[in-house]
């Protein structure tokens, strides 16, 4: 058994925290866990991707291209950027709230979100939702990451129990645990 998860987004969106929650939930279930993070210069609003893997016989911290099972994209463009890690069975959970990079400030230089989702849907299975907006409705955009984990946890055949996620959120998230648990529940009902 081997599960490969790619989490992509923009530096500062809580990507490492999300990776820690899923990773620790996998540790709680006795899996071997590996992964790779980006720190330093690349975090300054740049494109950030974290690899997370768990299973019985895994070694590499990085996912082989084409072997990503689940893509969690915190920003639509950052889903498209890592499509080469996916195969036709990959399930992507995509936050549709765009963050235009400073290189794409001019009209039309950021592709339309509809177009991005369309390309993704042509190639892989997609769950698209404006998680940022849904998180704002709970009080802060910051819990969009945990909400997306909620959606992931509720997927059919995803091999980690809900209880392990809840315990992981309690041990990993530094503040506002109740709000994060609420966001997790909201996420579980998005499909």
């Amino acid at each position: 058994m081997e599960v490969n998860i790619l989490i992509s987004g923009v530096g500062g969106q809580g990507i490492i925290l999300a990776s820690d929650i899923i990773g620790y939930a996998a540790v709680l279930e006795g899996y071997k866990v590996t992964g790779s993070e980006v720190h330093g210069m690349a975090q300054r609003g740049g494109s950030v991707v974290t690899h997370l893997r768990f299973g019985n016989e895994i070694y590499s911290p990085l996912i082989e291209k084409g072997r990503c099972d689940y893509l969690l994209a915190f920003e639509p463009l950052e889903a498209l950027r890592y499509l080469d890690y996916c195969n036709k069975n990959t399930i992507a959970i995509v936050n549709t709230e765009p963050i235009p990079p400073t290189t794409a400030r001019k009209i039309g230089s950021y592709p339309s979100v509809e177009k991005i989702i369309e390309i993704l849907e042509d190639n892989i299975k997609v769950i698209a939702e404006n998680y940022t907006q849904k998180a704002r409705e709970l009080g802060t955009a910051l819990v969009a990451n945990v909400m997306m984990i909620g959606t992931l946890s509720a997927l059919e055949r995803f091999p980690i129990k809900k209880e392990s996620f809840i315990e992981a959120i309690k041990s990993v998230v530094p503040r506002k645990i109740d709000l994060n648990l609420k966001a997790f529940e909201v996420g579980r009902n998005i499909s």
Binding site: Y24, V33, G35, V38, H39, I107, S171
Partner: protein
């Protein structure tokens, strides 16, 4: 993660490679930990800081890597175990000490972590410090995953003390920043009295002593080579006549690559200097051909070729003829090479797709509210006819503002500018250097400028912290690694003492004042220093020093029609300002309320809120 890294309990935790190194060092009973922050090494010392008091460890952010190592050497001479952490280029700075430390040897174990950065994720080069370790005649050990980070670090102290030699624990970004599950081990009770036993023949390297010490060192290395053959850091699996030799993170890629192959023998080397000669001999006599899988330099490959030649074994040895010598490996690169080596077809199951839109790049940028941006804007307002020598820090991103023309190594901004001046270039050289980089390696350069009459301008970007590596304090912030108050270093006084005849401190958030000071500095005949002082935007956020975002006056904003200059979006280029539906909008979550945009816009669109 909320985890007790110094727990006596033998739990299983999810750790970063660097956290595992910290845990390994604490299990080994270190008395001292020192470092200068640098990606990808920073988290090692950061992970020891919270436990320093509890475990009675002295932890410090040293002002540079040479200082960090020398402080550790003193502790070691007194019998204490010490860990020193740095990024690969940091070892260049510390190499002066390391090159001779191997001669005197150590008393308490010293482990020097060199976190290399293949792919230059956050570095100026891709040097392979296995070569530097061999050059210095130090032991080199390479962990390959998070568990081995902990285990190898702990064991490295034992090796260091057994042979009284410093150990270079060489990681790479994909090892230091790997995440993985780790089993905790038990704490060693070092329990010794720390005292210095004088021995001039060993500790005073005058020529007479050095000649003897060098011979002893070479003899010592032969003994270590014997030990390396039996080291648990290595692993050999004989399974057929095709062999792969590998080290570091490549070990994990090779393990993945051979999952669906049978008949591949592997030799994984964790003890990379001195190389385990007998073990390699044993391996190459049992296979017909070998592929060496290692990132960057053909370090193992050359070693294996030499050993094969000297032991009279003939076999095909591949390596850099198949695999790249630059950038980092990925599982795909290694799998492709391994399949080629065993004559099997590699089919990637990945999507074959075409995207008919272009995906805009998303490079790292200066944060919203970054004081550097304001300074760069001020510089651009004055003149374009300058040469800007840059340095190492977030401000290298000034590249986007065309206010960074060179960037080489720590402190080189101040000195390269002097070379431009003495060469007689027409434009006035302007050096741009951060507060921490200035303290690390810029002070001597500044004294040199004064002493040798270089008429340059030095701008010190004093953002009160080491920003790029995650907000570590500096001597100028007046607190140490543990957060205790220390004597605050005055950069202004220091600049004066070094010989600057014009010194002015400004807030870059006040554009008018900043432009005025820069003008005066440019006109000054002699060494001029301008200190641009304002806390890093991330630090300001952490210290709750931010202000509300300005209000946007929608009638005054002409958005896309703005013929004036689109100064806010195009020139100032703050990520908190976006053009939306023809007008400017401020993303309030990003804005720190620095108020510089209000000074930038000629149409008074931004109204500062008090």
């Amino acid at each position: 993660m909320k985890i007790d890294l110094a727990s006596e309990e033998k739990t299983r935790a999810l750790l970063l490679g660097n956290e595992a190194i910290a845990r390994g060092a604490m299990e080994a009973g270190i008395k001292l930990a020192s470092a200068y922050p640098g990606t990808p090494s920073t988290e090692i010392i950061e992970s020891i800081i919270p436990y320093a008091k509890r475990l009675n460890i002295h932890v410090e952010w040293s002002i540079n890597e040479k200082v960090a190592l020398e402080v550790a050497i003193g502790a070691s001479y007194a019998g204490a175990r010490a860990i020193v952490a740095m990024k690969h280029v940091g070892l260049n700075v510390a190499s002066d000490a390391l090159m001779t430390l191997t001669y005197t040897g150590v008393e308490g174990g010293i482990v020097i972590v060199s976190a290399d950065d293949p792919n230059a994720h956050s570095s100026q080069n891709e040097q392979d410090n296995r070569i530097l370790a061999r050059f210095a005649k130090a032991v080199c050990i390479e962990p390959y995953d998070v568990q081995s980070c902990k285990d190898f670090t702990k064991k490295a102290f034992e090796v260091s003390e057994k042979f009284k030699i410093p150990v270079v624990l060489r990681t790479t970004t994909r090892v230091s920043h790997a995440k993985g599950s780790v089993e905790f081990g038990s704490f060693e009770k070092v329990g010794r009295e720390y005292k210095f036993i004088k021995d001039a023949k060993r500790y005073v390297v005058v020529p007479k002593h050095t000649r003897v010490l060098h011979k002893k060192l070479n003899e010592k290395l032969k003994k270590i080579e014997e030990y390396a053959n039996r080291s648990e850091f290595n692993e050999m699996i004989i399974n057929g006549r095709l062999g792969i030799i590998t080290s570091g993170v490549s070990r994990t890629y090779v393990r993945e690559a051979i999952k669906e192959l049978d008949n591949v023998s592997i030799l994984e080397i964790g003890f990379t200097n001195p190389l385990p000669r007998k073990l390699i001999e044993e391996f190459i006599t049992q296979v017909d051909k070998v592929l060496v899988v290692e990132e960057l330099e053909p370090y193992l490959e050359e070693g294996v070729k030499k050993i094969a030649h000297e032991s009279g074994v003939w076999l095909e040895i591949h390596g850099k003829d198949i695999l790249p010598r630059e950038l980092e490996f990925t599982p795909d690169i290694v799998k492709k090479a391994v399949y080629k080596f065993v004559n099997k077809e590699y089919n990637n199951i990945g999507l074959k797709f075409e995207v008919d839109i272009s995906i805009p790049e998303r490079p790292p940028v200066l944060c919203a509210g970054c004081p550097h941006r304001a300074l760069f804007y001020a510089l651009k307002k004055i003149t374009k006819k300058k040469i800007y020598t840059g340095d190492i820090g977030c401000y290298t991103l000034g590249l986007a503002y065309k206010t960074i023309d060179t960037c080489l190594c720590m402190g080189a901004s101040v000195t390269i500018a002097q070379g431009f001046y003495h060469a007689g270039v027409k434009e006035k050289p302007v050096a741009i250097i951060g507060d921490s980089t200035f303290i690390h390696a810029g002070i001597t350069g500044l004294i040199n400028a004064s002493y040798n009459k270089a008429n340059i301008v030095v701008i010190i970007l004093d953002n009160r912290t080491v920003a790029m590596t995650g907000l570590q304090p500096t001597p100028a912030s007046g607190v140490n690694a543990l957060g205790e108050k220390t004597k605050e270093l005055s950069i202004e006084e220091l600049a004066k003492v070094c010989g600057a005849t014009f010194v002015k401190t400004v807030s870059p958030y006040n554009l008018e004042e900043t432009i005025e000071a820069l003008r005066k500095a440019f006109e000054h005949d002699g060494l001029a220093v301008v200190i641009s002082k304002e806390p890093c935007a991330l630090l300001a956020r952490k210290m709750k020093l931010t202000k509300p975002a300005p209000k946007v006056h929608r009638e005054r904003c002409r958005g896309y029609l703005c013929q004036a200059c689109s100064a806010c979006v195009n020139l100032f280029n703050c990520p908190a300002i976006v053009l939306e539906k023809g007008k400017v909008r401020i993303i309030e979550e990003l804005c720190t309320g620095c108020g510089v945009c209000a000074q930038v816009c000629p149409n008074d669109v931004f109204e500062v809120v008090d």
